[in-house]
Amino acid sequence: MYEAVIGLEVHLHLKTRTKMFCGCRADYFGAEPNTHTCPVCLGLPGALPVPNRVAVEHGLRLALALGAEVPERLVFHRKNYFYPDLPKNYQISQYDLPLGRGGSLPLGERRVRIKRLHLEEDAGKSLHLEGRTLLDLNRAGSPLIELVTEPDLKTPEEARLFLQRIQALVQTLGISDASPEEGKLRADVNVSVRRVGEPLGTKVEIKNLNSFKSVQRALEYEIRRQTEILRRGEKVKQATMGFEEGSGKTYPMRTKEEEADYRYFPEPDLPPVVIPRDWLEEVRRSLPELPWEKEARYRALGIKEKDAEVLAYTPSLARFLDQALPLGLASPQALANWLLADVAGLLHERGLRLEETRLSPEGLARLVGLFERGEVTSRVAKSLLPEVLEGQDPEALVRERGLKVVADEGALKALVAEAIAAMPEAAESVRQGKVKALDALVGQVMRKTRGQARPDLVRRLLLEALGVG
């Protein structure tokens, strides 16, 4: 039996107005190439970096949320290597005094340990076109946090789940959009395979995976590859690999001997950033409820385990639920059901995100409440959802359209009997097959309920009472 040992390095783009070390705006996504640049992020001679306080504070939020230890002084280091999209040919990063050390993230019953967190600047992008290389340096210098886990993950699915959890966490903290499709969450994975019970095998690093699916697929492929090598009695070579989306295969980029010597040394342009403990405490106090805390609260409210987990780790749903719950219009589990099934289904169908609709927490809570109190049927409630999604008040819709159930079937039956007694000719006609005559009887009952009975129900009760149908 073989097992995999997996560690992740996650790069997250921090949500800041400006870049890590200069005043350029960080919202370059989709912008013309090289329009979000300045002498600092272009590395022009004599330009100097100045640290972005918001980026540091965002970093502190994540460190504190994960329970990492934050030093009193952050020191930036230079990581030296030559690459065309790295304007200074060094990256300002952190080395031995990073933003945070230790901490963990809950994953089911386990906790995945965090080794370290550090702040750094991103590089630009190279575009290879017809034998030429073009550079877009809009991304150069944007703020990144790198999070490195201990090798605590065991399967590709777990690795993917971990990434989703981190994504949910940073979105909840409001420090990153963490959208892989915009390159705001990227991961490198380290994976080795061993026989169960044996010491760690040789690890291989797979770099620049830019979707959760790629992480899972690359790991699946690489674990298979390494397992086969071991089965043949051969040895895995330590290497850095790339992953080709098309074929779903990893390929070697460089071996250990070719690894760069980054010649780290303290960045002389930046004095250590002092983190006063009162600042740290202030940041700690300002942390929002974390996903795992939410999950526990939802479960305490009686929401089913699985639902509580999904809601707590889907920040847009959690935010919505947390606004709907205090209204007391619907039960937590019913709201959960609706959010996870009906709302999610409709959004998926329309290709929309929750925040792109006009659905209000109150609107949904009222709709669910109507259904829960049996004032409308499930079918009616669901039929109203599209309009509620567009911002309409469900109670007004029910009123306008007379959709409210007269819940008491006994009362309706009495009214039915009254109507038959009051209109014997019509009743007789119906018994003889003239169904059209039923309309008069239905009308009579509807008048008595002032339009709040459902016509089809009244119709059914009448037919039953008359022994027809």
Binding site: P39, L44, P45, G46, F82, P84, F265, P268
Partner: protein, 471 residues
């Protein structure tokens, strides 16, 4: 005429900024072809001089700016082929502040490539001659600025000092040069050689002129995270009587100096005693090893700072196979001394060697600083020669180690971050001799106060204009 005298005449309306600019420009055009102090001139100088508001505090002054300090729209080469056509789209903070006060950039002065050298012989373009002796170097790396002042091609100059690059040429050319406390002058726009040691330093022909410059350029800058929140008070500090300061003469810098330097030191001590200072000999035991630590730390930072000149984004690009080939061919355009330091710096930062070299040098740096702090509990100022000898002839320091030894007395101030001033203190034959004062961290003003007392007590006897004056 000294800069503060020009200012007084401009303020009284006796001379216009344009007339001053014209006088200096004419002089540069006449004399600089023989000296080589300037790498380029501000072609819009007269236009700018005409437009300047004469009411501004520095209106009428033109400044020679070392060519490793970025000037917007004005070629800035750092003395290197790699940047020979580089025109910065931004201004160094020091230059921006001078301009805002009405001063104008006269031109850009020669230097050893990226500040690496002590003679301007390592300029990629041409060496600068010493106005006191055309067969001798003006010192370096701010040799162009020092020579321009000595020849009165400019009343004020900016240099930069990483291991002595302002003070040594100031000494060789008989002018004043200050290496401020690290962080007092913003480094924004200063093309980095060794960032933790680099400081822009003012150079001038009198203490008052130096104070005028420092009050303009010093002070905190949001664009430089290492700049200090210490507002400059230089001209103010020159007022009032000289306090009875305690002066320490550094024992480790007393042996091996040339006769002219020894004589200047003796005479200076006499003058300072007469001025009411108490004088004693003190020991700075680690100073002799400072040079070794400097030539590890400075190259280490340089190897990283200079990595960006690879032909990709700006500056010269050489042809080569693929991106790597292009980068290699471009970097081959560095001069020999730059290559030597980049290689040394790359080596000392390499894994396996880091602790043995860079790590130990950093530890030494902390010790040197601690020793200096202890010394400044006993004395208020330290005195030592700027260099062991006056200007040497061209070609006399072909051995790189011999050239590095030029920085023996100056690197201490850079490694500790302390302010140090070189002032003209005598002659050896026809060659100027400079002495150096060091003060505690942030006490730059004290250096100028003491030097002014010396200047006045000696009635400027040590200030000569070998080629005459512009005004």
């Amino acid at each position: 005429m000294l800069a503060h005298e020009i200012r007084a005449r401009v303020a009284r309306g006796e001379v216009s900024p344009l007339e001053v600019a014209q006088a200096y420009l004419k002089r540069v055009q006449e004399l600089d072809p023989g000296l080589g102090a300037f790498l380029s001139l501000n072609e819009r100088l007269l236009e700018e001089a005409e437009a300047v508001d004469p009411g501004l505090p520095l209106a009428g002054l033109v400044v020679a700016v070392k060519d490793n300090i970025a000037t917007r729209g004005l070629r800035t080469t750092a003395g290197s082929r790699l940047l020979e056509n580089f025109v910065p789209p931004y201004e160094a903070t020091a230059v921006a502040r001078l301009k805002a006060l009405g001063a104008l950039v006269l031109g850009k002065t020669n230097l050893d490539e990226f500040g690496m050298g002590s003679s301007t012989e390592h300029s990629a373009f041409f060496p600068t001659k010493n106005p006191f002796d055309p067969d001798r170097v003006p010192g370096g790396s701010s040799g162009g600025s020092a020579a321009a002042l000595a020849a009165d091609l400019a009343p004020l100059a900016l240099g930069s000092d990483t291991g002595g690059s302002v003070r040594q040429p100031a000494a060789f050319c008989g002018v004043y040069g200050l290496k401020p406390t690290y962080g007092r002058v913003s480094r924004f726009g200063l093309i980095a050689y060794a960032s933790s040691l680099d400081q822009i330093g003012p150079m001038a022909r009198s203490v008052r002129d130096l104070a005028l410059l420092m009050d303009a350029v010093a002070g905190p800058d949001p664009l430089d995270a290492t700049s200090l929140d210490l507002p400059p008070r230089f001209q103010e500090a020159l007022e009032g009587p000289l306090p009875p300061l305690r002066l320490g003469v550094v024992r480790e810098a007393l042996a091996g100096n040339s006769p002219g330097v020894e004589r200047a030191l003796e005479e200076a001590l006499k003058v300072f005693r007469e001025l009411g200072l108490s004088v004693r000999e003190v020991s700075w035991p680690s100073l002799p090893q400072a040079l070794a630590a400097y030539y590890i730390l400075a190259p280490a930072e340089a190897s990283s700072n200079l990595a960006r000149y690879d032909g990709t984004l700006y500056g010269r690009r050489a042809e080569g196979e693929e991106v790597e080939g292009m980068m290699e061919a471009t970097r081959a355009l560095f001069g020999l001394e730059v290559k030597r330091r980049v290689l040394v710096g790359t080596f000392v930062l390499s894994s396996g060697y880091y602790e043995a070299y860079y790590g130990r040098a950093q530890a030494f740096r902390r010790r040197l600083k601690a020793e200096a702090q202890a010394l400044f509990r006993e004395v208020d100022l330290l005195l030592l020669p700027t260099t062991p000898h006056p200007a040497f002839p061209f070609g006399a320091r072909r051995d790189p180690l011999a050239m590095y030894r030029e920085d023996l007395y100056t690197v201490g101030a850079n490694l500790t971050g302390l302010p140090a001033l070189s002032f003209p203190a005598g002659f050896e034959g026809h060659l100027p001799v400079g002495l150096q004062l060091l003060a505690p961290w942030g006490e730059d003003e004290r250096l100028l106060r003491a030097a002014l007392a010396f200047e006045e007590a000696t009635a400027r006897a040590h200030l000569k204009a070998p080629l005459g004056e512009a005004l």
